[in-house]
């Protein structure tokens, strides 16, 4: 192997070596002979990723076995190894299980809802005339473009008990439709996890369905029209066409969208931080629980580290699935 590489490059490097050569040329020859070019090109990006993404992850793992807190950050006391104490504290804390439950339930509801709405809009965009399709996709684009912070503040206002449009509308709807609750001045953010996450789910679906719709539309365009046309002529219902033709063909895209949505929805922090705000422990999701443990008072980076590690491991399982799906779709080719 090494032999063949050298012989490959011998003819090209020989004429250059024969001249006296400036320092610059000699450096070039050195890079070529040792095939350093790809490594040199990669180095800046990889150093950045290593220092900002990988090393902190390793540090978090280290902190999770230490009692890193206020005394350590101010330099009063050195950090001590505490074994699995942070993990046992976590696993015996009912708030941890509550926040994990909130995170899981939220993902279980929000992910299928996002995919469903995205599918409906994607199929619709594929069937609509040009003008209407541009109108719908522009609306979707604007929802997608709204920064999460703006969207969260905006939905908080719409669902606000004082002057919010949602409570106003619900209070004017017939009881058989919206239940017997007194909706006027109803507080969605603090009345409990179900109410808060209903609001966040609507917000997240609103922001995420455009991506699903647009991605599916790109996939739908690759399906030959004759295929679905033929099925329809043969009398297949639209649902049957979707189930037997469209869905099987788009399955790889669906898998990637599913895994991405699971990761995103399990992760949400910005929306829940703004809408729920720190202090409402019974409405925490995992992200907020971690943040509160680490940066609350007193700060406990060790406990936060243990939690972050657990969090990262849960996500790693989904991520491995996502990577496998991407590779199977030909990402590496």
């Amino acid at each position: 192997m090494a032999q063949s590489i050298r012989s490959d490059h011998a003819p090209r490097s020989v004429p250059r070596l024969s001249g006296p050569g400036t320092a610059r040329e000699r450096l070039g020859t050195f890079v070529r002979r040792h095939k350093l070019a790809p490594y040199l090109l990669l180095a800046p990006a990889l150093i950045g990723i290593a220092l900002v993404l990988l090393w902190p992850l390793a540090q978090v793992a280290i902190y999770s076995f230490q009692n890193y807190g206020l005394a350590q950050i101010t330099g009063v006391l050195p950090a001590q190894w505490v074994g699995f104490a942070n993990f046992s504290t976590t696993f015996t804390d009912p708030e941890f299980w509550l926040s994990l439950r909130n995170s899981l339930l939220f993902a279980i509801v929000a992910v299928p809802l996002t995919l469903l709405v995205g599918t409906i809009v994607g199929l619709l965009l594929n069937r609509l005339g040009k003008k209407m399709s541009i109108f719908v996709s522009t609306a979707a684009l604007l929802a997608w473009a709204t920064p999460p912070v703006s969207a969260s503040v905006l939905f908080y206002w719409m669902f606000n008990p004082d002057g919010g449009i949602v409570d106003w509308a619900l209070a004017r709807m017939p009881h058989w439709l919206v239940g017997g609750t007194d909706w006027a001045g109803y507080n969605w953010a603090t009345n409990g996890p179900v109410q808060a996450y209903t609001m966040i789910a609507i917000l997240v679906v609103w922001q995420a369905f455009p991506f699903v719709a647009v991605t599916l539309l790109a996939g739908l365009k690759t399906i030959p029209a004759e295929l679905t046309e033929a099925a329809r002529v043969d009398g297949a219902s639209p649902w049957r066409v979707f189930r037997r033709i469209t869905f099987p063909l788009l399955k790889p895209i669906y898998l990637v969208l599913l895994l991405l949505s699971v990761i995103w929805d399990f992760n949400i922090f910005t929306q829940s931080y703004i809408i729920i705000s720190l202090g409402n422990q019974n409405e925490y999701n995992l992200s907020m629980y971690i943040y509160d443990k680490a940066f609350g008072f007193p700060p406990s980076y060790g406990l936060g580290g243990a939690l972050a590690l657990i969090f990262a491991l849960i996500l790693l399982v989904v991520t491995v699935g996502y990577v496998r799906a991407s590779i199977r779709q030909g990402a590496l080719t």
Partner: protein, 318 residues
Amino acid sequence: MTGTELTGTTMAPPAASPASPASPASRRDSARIRARTVRQAKSVSLNGLGLLIALATLFPIFWMVSTAFKPSQEIYSLTPSLLPAHPTVGNFDQVISGQVTGGIGPIWLFFRNSLAVTLSTVVFASILSLLASVAVARFRFRLRTTLLVLLLIVQMIPGQALIIALFLDFKSLNLLGSLLGLIVVYSAQALPVTIWMLRNFVATIPRELEEAAAIDGATAQRIFWRILFPLVAPGLVATSIFAFITAYNEFIVALTFLGQAQSAYTLPIYVTYFFGRGGAAWGPIMAASTMYTIPVMIFFLIVRRRLVGGLVAGAVKG
């Protein structure tokens, strides 16, 4: 199939013909009319659904802008109206002058901070990922595939998992209350995705182009600038969009790093800051959110074609 006119209109309900036709010719006509009616009804219902979805999607944005232009007595009115009855720019005035409850300065200050962070991130992420993508798309080297898979995994590490270590590291580097700290973190966070996106672009450029230039005696630099760079420019637009969104929207790192350093706040932190302090000053809050949101919406509309193509390629293909 009996009536040939029915071909292609199998969706027509089989029964329920209103009038009993007299002659075969008029029966044919009525079948044709019925088919057209069904087609029209379908088109109307599809368009109706489209309209409904579009309006429902636009409503929150409309409500944000509408609230921003309302005087406060209309905002808290018991019967909210869709459009402001007496539109005012008072809320915007307050936000721009900084004379708002809980305000910490004119909004331009935070625009400037966000712009500085975002543009720097776009530049750094583009340069670094361009170099790296050429390496992974054009060279064969050990661990190349491993590296690509690693990038896919790294891309998914959530900010919440890293923020504790990042906070402590940047604290010891004295970079917490500064824009530089944010630029470093955002650039690195954008890299795994931007490298993948650009790699897909570089990989589509035929290698023969570069080889032909090399045979003609062009130097590596010349080949890069004259051949590779112009062809990969659309890819750079896509990566710039991604880096832009990453930096402009980022919340958790800015929240944690900037802390009490109000003069370094980026727009999202500014908006949430007086969202928390201003009590119920929804007018100014919506005015600030509108000003924060509109530029990115315009930006999305300008680049929409690239956005769909590029981001989908980035997301679905990696």
